[in-house]
Symmetry: C2
Subunit: 596 residues, 2 copies
């Protein structure tokens, strides 16, 4: 049986001290997110997660979802109450505008809360996450009537939202889409087709489900340029604004999955379902990208959340499990054996996870802050910088954090030996649940391709050069500090390696694109490590300042050590990554397909 304790101390340290978000009280939402309010909000989220949502996590996995012959889907015991708490507590719309029923808080704060919910119960949080994505698309592209009609009900948790992209023959390549939309005299459309892998496509948590569906209007141009976005409620809304008659959409089956079994993954059959266009004709992909980018950052957060809860349980176990003796002699001579945390390899494993988690959380918060800036600032240069950062870092957060977050859940399970393989221990569920983060919202190979072939060269590589400027400036500032010196030299070297790889890939993209993208996953990892290393520099600098000011706690005192562990044990991989990128794609492309 697993437990969870929200890492409030670390979250506050990042928000208050490292990123000093109180600096931004001039921006919309931030004034309503003062330290007192943040403390209260995060404290309530922690309580709900620890006491109500996490105890449902194993239940959700054990029971899973089930579909009856009428196509109705039952969620696991307790999920209805859990989802109700999220809606009634205002947790679904934490950062949504107040005028549509949201709480109006910054994305940065909502992101911190999101980690806590996802750690506690990822499968349940997915329903809320999809609702948030649907709201984001409606707010950005929907008509005022659509916003008024759907958003408040979704944010209250009375209704929920979905996104419908994938079809059986097309996942990544949405240009192959077949679902069609036929316009009616009243301006509405009739939607027909089959969508698969629809999270929350059918369930018993809410009285209505609002589907956002990509489809092709009759006569639209081929490929993704002919795709439009529609809103299709499961139950049509009657004159009083209530869910009435069933629409022509039904759940054909649900998937049996490796994990996140409490989240219903549905095949949805659209049969002349009534829908309304969201945004403009044939511009559906743009609208969908709003949801997709939000979702990709959310997936990175999910991966961190599983890495965090897996770490907590592994660290506790390592301090309790008595087995063998330290190489240097008994450390707990009064006991039958020493706790396994005396072993260097156990500590190395735990610190590898921890060193990732703290930096990954910082990277996500920093990026959430850029989202807030991009939305709220009135300075066009600042907005451009923030938007550049978001575009560039989104595939890195999705890809690197999910790859490493998954690896961390495996490493945490490993601490339990054979007991980690037993379902009741609960560690293997984190592995299975986290595995989806590498696959959905674009498998990680696609993230690497997006990073190297699209995001990197865009606008003359403006975004990555602005990242280089930031990091170089921080390194230069830190160079005089002897306390930071164990981090500064390795960071400078790794940054140079990233700069070198960048120049090489930009050149290859022009001359031999296959050579460039053969190194795309290695480049994504190289970039990710440097970004995480940069976060450690900022964390350690801040920790040192607080320690110098007389603050003290074992956690604060440990940060410079964990930061040094990061550069010695994780960041050190960058030289191998550069060497691989330089080796390029010669062998990769030369082996004929029939010999593979």
């Amino acid at each position: 049986m697993t437990t969870y304790q929200a890492p409030l101390q670390d979250i506050h340290f990042l928000l208050n001290d490292v990123f000093q978000i109180d600096r931004f009280s001039n921006l919309a939402g931030f004034a309503d997110a003062s330290l007192d309010i943040r403390t209260a909000v995060l404290g309530e989220a922690a309580k709900l997660s620890e006491e109500a949502l996490h105890p449902l996590n194993a239940v959700g996995d054990r029971e899973g979802c089930s579909r009856n012959e009428n196509g109705e889907v039952a969620t696991p015991t307790g999920f209805r109450d859990g989802f109700k708490s999220l809606g009634e507590g205002g947790w679904i719309g934490l950062s949504a505008p107040i005028e549509y029923g949201g709480q109006g808080l910054p994305t940065t704060v909502a992101t911190a809360v999101g980690e806590i919910f996802a750690s506690a119960n990822m499968a349940l949080e997915i329903y809320a996450g999809l609702s948030r994505g649907a709201v984001a698309a409606l707010l950005k592209h929907g008509s005022e009537q659509q916003k008024r009609q759907f958003v408040p009900k979704i944010l209250s948790g009375e209704w929920s939202g979905t996104m419908n992209l994938t079809e059986p023959h097309c996942g990544t390549d949405l240009g192959l889409m077949r679902t069609k939309a036929v316009q009616q005299a009243d301006g509405s459309f009739r939607i027909t087709g089959t969508k698969i892998f629809i999270s929350g496509g059918e369930h018993d948590l809410t009285e209505n489900i609002i589907h956002l569906v990509l489809a092709r209007i009759e006569g639209a141009p081929p490929g993704i340029k002919g795709v439009s976005l529609f809103v299709v409620p499961k139950r049509l809304i009657d004159a009083g604004g209530k869910p009435g008659e069933r629409n022509g959409v039904s759940c054909g089956s649900i998937e049996h999955k490796m994990g996140i079994r409490g989240s219903a993954t549905c095949v949805l059959n659209y049969d002349n379902a009534v829908g309304w266009l969201v945004g403009r004709e044939n511009k559906g992909m743009e609208a969908m990208f709003v949801m997709m980018n939000e979702a990709r950052l959310g997936v990175g957060l999910q991966a961190l959340s599983q890495s965090e809860i897996a770490y907590q349980n592994a660290a506790t176990y390592a301090k309790e499990r008595l087995q063998g003796r330290a190489l240097t002699g008994p450390q707990a001579p009064d006991k039958s054996a020493d706790p396994i945390i005396v072993h260097p390899d156990v500590r190395r494993t735990l610190l590898s996870i921890r060193a990732f988690n703290e930096a990954a959380r910082a990277l996500i918060f920093w990026t959430a802050l850029k989202e807030d800036l991009a939305r709220c600032t009135e300075d066009p240069d600042e907005r451009e910088l923030a938007e550049d950062h978001l575009a560039l870092i989104t595939p890195v957060i999705k890809g690197v954090l999910s790859d490493r977050g998954f690896t961390n859940t495996v490493a945490a399970q490993q601490m339990f030996g054979g007991h980690g393989y037993i379902v009741e221990t609960g560690m293997e569920q984190f592995v299975r649940d986290c595995r989806i983060t590498m696959l959905y919202e674009g498998a990680n190979g696609i993230q690497a391709l997006d990073l190297v072939a699209r995001k990197l060269p865009r606008d003359g590589a403006r975004a990555i050069h602005s990242f280089f400027r930031d990091v170089n400036a921080f390194i230069d500032e830190s160079a005089g500090s002897s306390a930071l010196s164990p981090l500064v030299q390795p960071m400078r070297r790794s940054l140079r390696e990233l700069e070198q790889a960048t120049a090489l890939l930009l050149q290859r993209l022009r001359e031999q694109p296959n050579e460039a993208v053969a190194g795309s996953t290695d480049f994504m990892n190289l970039f990710g490590l440097v970004a995480l290393g940069y976060m450690w520099l900022r964390i350690v600098k801040t920790a040192n300042q607080r320690l110098a000011a007389g603050d003290s706690s074992p956690e604060l005192a440990a940060k410079p050590l964990i930061g040094r562990f990061f550069v010695e044990h994780l960041l050190s991989e960058t030289s191998t990554l550069l060497a691989r990128i330089q080796a390029g794609g010669a062998t990769v492309m030369a082996v004929p397909a029939e010999a593979i």
Copy 2:
């Protein structure tokens, strides 16, 4: 749904060409394993695996095992027939002595067959593997009467075997063991205690189960020096040699596991069960090590087997799945999209698995050959060399192959995108099944500790220096070959890094043991990569010779390319591993436990 095709071409290439096992026809067993016989044996194993055993793999996972209230355990549909085929076909005793009912073939050949069975159905193969382990311990330490009584029946598959080590409070640290044995007037013992994680501890595949059980004789010295080995049949053997009355051992429960669900993992309760001493009093650990070392090599083989079948299915899918277009323009313009194998990152992923699989197979076969040599040779120097190799390489094969084999099953699943997460696709079962290989028979952290703290320094580091001599000699021989030059330089560098790490760790072991073992996992990986790289040198050299002799096939022509891929994309990690080992344990040990 997954398929399997035994990699016969590659197996024959290794046995016939790379290791030229026909050179050893002077050794016991080898004369009976001529090319014709090997071809027939491997062909039959392939047929049985592909047609009968693999189709049971998904069934076994879906149904799992179940225990009724009498403590009887039912295996999945078809497993009885599958196990019967293994017994009746002589597959359980392929390398066991003919006089006890075995086939008398070399371990090298039995190992090749073992991979095939484990790929096809790992959960089913585990029952046979445990039987082989029990036979090995009985043949080495049992009395002549015990051998005659138990071994032929186990090899025929009428009975099966188990090994009982772990107790609820002790896995790694067997000195904490509590199960006790009380001697009776007739020379037998009464065994009482609880054993957990007993694979095949109870099932319906055979009419009897022969348990090999570690227990402490009343009054024995504390710790592992007071542990003895006993044979305890589930049903006592009557005067006619048939299973009769039930013995005092029963299955208290079975585990719900992440994977290998067709393999029954049992809690066994011994309540005054009748048992007989195997070998000498208080020398149980020695006897058990015979089984344990065999089992550890077997676990490496299992990991390879899952990496292989996962690879096969991923490669097939990558050639069939149409999605998107190549960056360099359509490759299949007549189709709606290109197969995803056109993408460099897909190829890189597949080749990473493939480059590991071929070298891992070679490393296992090379080591199996050393087992045959250690057993059969009359030259004491050759025996010492072979035994040194086995002791040193066993933790590497167990640890490195299971870590990387598991990672490969994840990478293969990744090729399927979201479809890989669906149970029916079958790819996620390989991930879940393979996960156990990192945990059982000593979690991989224990393997790394065994390697660095015990195997490395033993006899003045004689074993690793003999490995260095072999590899250095091969590199020197190959240095003149221009065809081998892309491999030789990187191999020489990586070998130097391993030599450097070895010297450093040997010094630290004497001076600061925690500093040494903080690098144990990195060292294990460094050693593993160099050993796999050495295998690639040998494979490519042999392939080049055959190609020069006019032999040709796409597979043969691809080997030099895949070998080069290995050194550029996998072996290149060695410099990072050395850097981490050099960084040592300072940060690892400095963080106080309460901050972890």
